[in-house]
């Protein structure tokens, strides 16, 4: 068994939270918790009995995911669950609230609906990359059980026949932390707002775009797909701010972009290993065009998303956690400190997240059975909107979730893409249908 997982007197396996996860239990509330969803749509209707079997079998393969949140006097821990979660039929909207009781039972859940399998994770256990690795393994195992074949290992999908490696279970933040901590000071960004939906319903609008057209447009502007989408989103938020806020009270428009640190540091952990950058422009300086924002995005990313600077950013999170006084403080005090820090230097530095998992691949023998993937991040503590992206099978799926009634941002964003000549198909979970 991997060395990062310890055993207590009752022989329960447990581990400490990774450095990025420390914040998530501290900032959760009765109504909000940081969760995300990855889902896969197959070509056939899901059999819940087989799906449950697949979920059960993967338990040994993903020891860092089949865990529950334990609360101690000084810290939170992740303790292995006694039994895997029961698969459930999906609800009317994604990312329903995961309450404290559920977090103490299991930090992830599995849903099925028609041809879709979905897994929702409390961010404390893993990030989007880890979640995607899990859903791919789950889909592969499900298909193996349904169609009675065995997928060869080493095709980018983790199988039940392999053992988890030490690298998969390690807290890579500690390993990759620099010695110098970069200051967190940043200017507060413009805040999106709207009429809060008190029912707790999460409205989801999915835009489906042909990846080649998106790439073509991004390359025409000399940037990446992520850069292009961030630029369009920035432009839309700038337009919204121009309508809503008088000129002298305007603020920078910044997009919070998670950076997958695995590529930068050549690490392959299944736990959290991403840091966010707030990238954007200040509309008080000039009225930036999409082309100019693309250039600005590339410039800022090239400057910030380098191992040295990322190591310094990691250090800013890791070094306070190593502080003896902080370690000796009771959990309740730590939570107050972390919540205060998060409110002041956390979310308010960006307007919206754009989390891009990039291109998702499946082994060739599974491709005919897998129609699409989706990635949905929940709304943040104070952001009303969020956006997540991935590409699969020639299409890019942009999921925009919100907890407000207004669709202004989504309308502006997708309309601008259409105006640029990119065809967009729209799906929504608002049930405004015939019959």
């Amino acid at each position: 068994m991997a060395g990062n997982i310890k055993e207590d007197k009752k022989l329960r396996k447990w581990m400490r939270l990774d450095n990025a996860a420390l914040i998530f239990p501290a900032i959760r509330s009765f109504r909000w918790v940081n969760t995300f969803r990855v889902s896969v749509q197959l070509s056939q209707e899901i059999d819940p009995v087989v799906l449950q079997k697949a979920v059960d079998e993967l338990m040994g393969r993903f020891p860092t995911i089949y865990v529950r949140l334990g609360t101690g006097l000084f810290w939170y821990t992740l303790v292995e669950v006694k039994r895997p979660p029961r698969v459930r039929e999906d609800y009317a909207y994604p990312l329903t609230h995961m309450g404290t009781r559920e977090q103490r039972t299991c930090c992830f859940r599995v849903f099925y609906y028609k041809r879709r399998i979905a897994a929702e994770f409390f961010h404390v256990i893993t990030d989007g990359t880890g979640g995607m690795a899990f859903i791919k393994a789950l889909a592969a195992r499900y298909l193996e059980l349904v169609d009675s074949f065995e997928l060869a290992s080493g095709k980018g999908v983790l199988t039940v026949r392999e053992k988890p490696s030490a690298e998969e279970t390690e807290d890579a933040f500690v390993k990759c932390s620099g010695k110098y901590a970069m200051p967190r000071r940043e200017e507060t960004a413009y805040r999106l707002s709207g009429t809060y939906d008190a029912t707790g319903f999460r409205h989801l609008i999915t835009g489906i775009l042909p990846t080649d057209r998106l790439l073509q447009e991004a390359h025409r502007l000399g940037t990446t797909v992520n850069g292009f989408l961030c630029a369009v989103m920035t432009r839309c938020i700038m337009d919204m701010q121009a309508v809503r806020v008088p000129e002298r009270r305007r603020r920078p428009v910044k997009i919070t972009v998670p950076v997958n640190l695995r590529r930068l540091f050549s690490v392959y952990t299944l736990r959290n290993f991403a840091l966010v950058l707030n990238i954007g422009v200040d509309p008080r300086l000039k009225d930036y065009t999409v082309e100019e924002i693309c250039r600005e995005y590339d410039r800022q990313t090239a400057l910030e998303a380098v191992p040295e600077k990322m190591a310094a950013r990691i250090a800013a999170n890791v070094l306070p956690a190593k502080n003896k006084l902080m370690r000796l403080a009771p959990l309740i005090l730590k939570n107050i400190v972390m919540r205060t820090v998060y409110r002041n230097v956390g979310e308010n530095k960006g307007c919206i997240n754009i989390s891009n998992l990039g291109r998702v691949d499946m082994p060739e023998e599974l491709m005919p059975f897998v129609e699409r993937f989706d990635f949905i991040i929940g709304v943040q503590y104070t952001y009303p909107n969020n956006c997540s992206v991935l590409s699969y099978g020639g299409n890019t799926y942009i999921n925009m979730i919100r907890n407000i009634r207004e669709t202004e941002l989504e309308r502006r964003f997708f309309s601008m893409l259409v105006e640029m000549g990119i065809p967009v198909s729209i799906e929504s979970n608002d049930t405004d249908r015939q019959g």
Binding site: E89, Y91, A92, Y93, H97, E410, N429, D432, R433, Q434
Partner: protein
Amino acid sequence: MYCVKCGVKLESGVVRCPLCATPVWNPGGEASEGHYNAGLYPEKNRAARYFGLALATALMAAAALACLVICLNLYERVYWSGLAMLGTALLYIVAVLPFWFPKYCLWVFVPLDFAAIEGFLVYVNAYVHGRWFLSFAFPVTGLVFLLTLGGIGLVIYRGKGRLRMIGIYLMVFGGFTMLIEMFEHITFGTPMFLWSLYTAGVYGLLGLFLFVASFIPSVHNDLRRRFMH
């Protein structure tokens, strides 16, 4: 099928565009299946909530009962425990009772709260052998109740002329402070216009400013953007 306003492609069978709510003309189109389980919502965990409420009820009842027992033991009559029990009942009606119901209905619970406050004041008045209930406490509480209802209505109302209504409300509030001082003067014999002129002046001017501003589009729009968005 495309939205004529946004230009995005829509699923067949949708009644309106999810982005701009433009109605979609969909002649004989077959409705596509929904992507989510439209009828299924997560069950709310009511057990913990009801346990907490039952605990609060039991604790408050025990506290009120303890006061009564102590009082009867010491004085062989109700004495101050009446105040303690009615105070606890008032606290219960205001802070605990609404949570037994799935939805907080303003138009039921706010009048109930004020009725409970009035009842408590009647008892206090009788307890201290006072003569201030009818001439002071009752009209003041009644006016506060009406103002509260008006305030709630203003918070809920999102239609046209809201700024004008807020202006009128503030002016009425200023006038109300003068009424309080008048009731105080009638009941307790304090001098009139000692402080209420200032509050009435401040609220009246602020209300008048908003009232006038609501007729000037540029000022109205600027105020709306700043404070009402």
